[in-house]
Symmetry: C2
């Protein structure tokens, strides 16, 4: 069931949405903590695979967003996975500093309490 | 930084997209494995929080999708988290059987290999 894909096959396996984007779940390779979700287009996915520096497409700024380019809180790619129907990516990363722009280690710091 | 929210505050913290949906990362509460990504609207989010049975909105079928309703591979909600800007949810779940419709434990079974 598990398979490995070359870079070209990996990119070809991705189904980008109507805006040319795919959601990417970033997970700490070290701890398994889910850090954030952001988006990539084909170009930033290819940059990420080529350089090993996780690079998103900022939907709010409509520009290439190399994670940590200004903050220094970079993400080095450890593993990249594509899901069964190709419409979501999972990237296990080596996160420098906090992942969240608020300074929190993860963007998920608010929890529902019954 | 970490906070807890009541059910109403949690739902109010969510920013649904133009289609009224929010992406939800499902993670195994037991192992930390990321299982899948699917979508919820306000109604299925409220159902999930009320019942503890994870219930998505199927974009392909355009209908309520209680995970495991036909397969038995249900997800019981353990923890629900909302991210910093409210546009992604993380649900830690107790997954019965495989999460993926292919029979794989996780939908992320294809990996990029350099």
């Amino acid at each position: 069931m598990t398979g490995t894909l070359t870079r070209d096959a990996f990119v070809a396996a991705v189904t980008f949405d109507a805006n040319g984007l795919v959601p990417v779940v970033a997970q700490s390779a070290a701890t398994g903590e889910v850090l954030m979700l952001a988006w990539m287009n084909r170009d930033t996915l290819e940059r990420t695979l080529s350089t090993g520096e996780v690079t998103y497409w900022s939907r709010s700024r409509q520009e290439v967003w190399r994670k940590g380019a200004t903050s220094g809180h970079v993400q080095h790619l450890v593993e990249a996975w594509v899901d069964c129907d190709g419409d979501t990516l999972l990237m296990k990363v080596d996160q420098t500093g906090p992942a969240c722009h608020t300074g929190a280690p993860s963007c998920f710091f608010r929890r529902y309490q019954k």
